[in-house]
Subunit: 230 residues, 2 copies
């Protein structure tokens, strides 16, 4: 049995949910508000961050990259053609580079700001930084997203999937980030038709359905969010 500690709008948590869905794994979700720093959760992950995965009575697997490698090591071979990690070390490095780009660089410069300012801060008490979104930070994130869109557009135009010929972890890492920004209507899809077409293909996979059904109280999703032909 797998248990995933997550936050519904944490892009890294969504990445793991998508991958678990693709790998056909049954899992139980436990929602965590990372800013609350519950003692019980800090015992699992001293960094206090989600996602954390636990298999049976095993130790906590902390963070999206260790979880990705763990799932590939324990289940990858059994997936055959549908394995999300390529076989050759060079191609694996390219997949990991793009996972890192999505979950770290794109998140640090764009999506993390949107999620924190527009979602997390609504639920956070003022004492730990909650409150109204900081419009200066949102302006920076909205400026940064154009550079990323251009790079993703280049990749989407020159490859079938993000990291090459085959669907890989990189597609789900980037799609997880996009899904959070798209919920908030913050993705300028019209700028890059190839990115939009790539995202529509990833979004139409069954593993995506639970995410598209996710709603945040008091903040309905953008019109394009759950629309597979947006």
């Amino acid at each position: 049995m797998l248990t995933l500690y997550h936050h519904p709008f944490s892009p890294s948590s969504r990445f793991v949910r998508l991958v678990l869905g693709e790998y056909g794994a049954n899992f139980e979700l436990k929602a965590v508000n990372p800013w609350e720093r519950h003692r019980e959760f800090l015992m699992l992950n001293p960094a206090g961050t989600v996602p954390v995965l636990i298999e049976n009575d095993g130790p906590p697997i902390c963070g999206p990259l260790p979880i990705m490698e763990y799932l590939d090591e324990t289940r990858g071979y059994a997936m055959g053609d549908r394995r999300l990690m390529p076989d050759h070390p060079d191609r694996r490095a390219e997949t990991r580079r793009l996972v890192d780009w999505a979950l770290r660089k794109f998140d640090d410069e764009v999506v993390g700001h949107f999620v924190r300012e527009r979602i997390y801060k609504q639920d956070m008490p003022r004492s730990v930084g909650g409150g109204e979104p900081d419009s200066a930070i949102l302006r920076i994130a909205r400026a940064n997203i154009h550079h990323h869109m251009r790079y993703f557009g280049y990749l989407a135009a020159s490859r079938k999937w993000l990291a090459g010929d085959r669907l890989s972890f990189a597609d789900f890492a980037l799609a997880a980030e996009f899904s959070c920004a798209d919920y908030l209507g913050e993705v300028p899809w019209a700028e890059e038709e190839n990115v939009k077409a790539w995202y529509a293909r990833v979004k139409s996979r069954p593993s995506f359905r639970p995410l598209l059904a996710e709603k945040m109280l008091g903040m309905p999703p953008s019109l394009s969010y759950a629309d597979l032909d947006f």
Copy 2:
């Protein structure tokens, strides 16, 4: 033949140099100032960051984690007992968690600030953010380091090496970060004797020697930096 694009005081680059040394690999170093964003280098790594590793005519392997996995995949088995990645997926996940803690969390909250403010900014033109260190940022980094020291002290007291019974990538990731902070005299070693003893053991390895010989023009290292019995 391996070529490593690096910066001498980039902790992630130092991590790769240490690992290459441990794995007995011959490599050529090419120094890069990441803030210069040379076109030629951006063609290798569109993120513009170091380290980047190239093997023969292969594609660039970008970033410390993809490089770590690549070296383990291409050379790990041949290392036998001296392999820096454990065999069991649970232990591998713990190693990766701590590599991530060192190169991301500790770097983001502490060492990256020291390096940027006190080293990079000396060489950066003012037009891209160079100049005097920002004392407010240094104050934050100096406050943050105590929390990290306590956690590393807990690990060093309860384990032989950082991630368990055996020397692993995690030891070199953290030691690489410490080496940059220690050059600047920014590590409060007296607070955690166990961390100091652990670092002395890692630092005395032959793979560390090239780093300890590295000097920055106009900024001599702290007295403890190259002293193996500091």
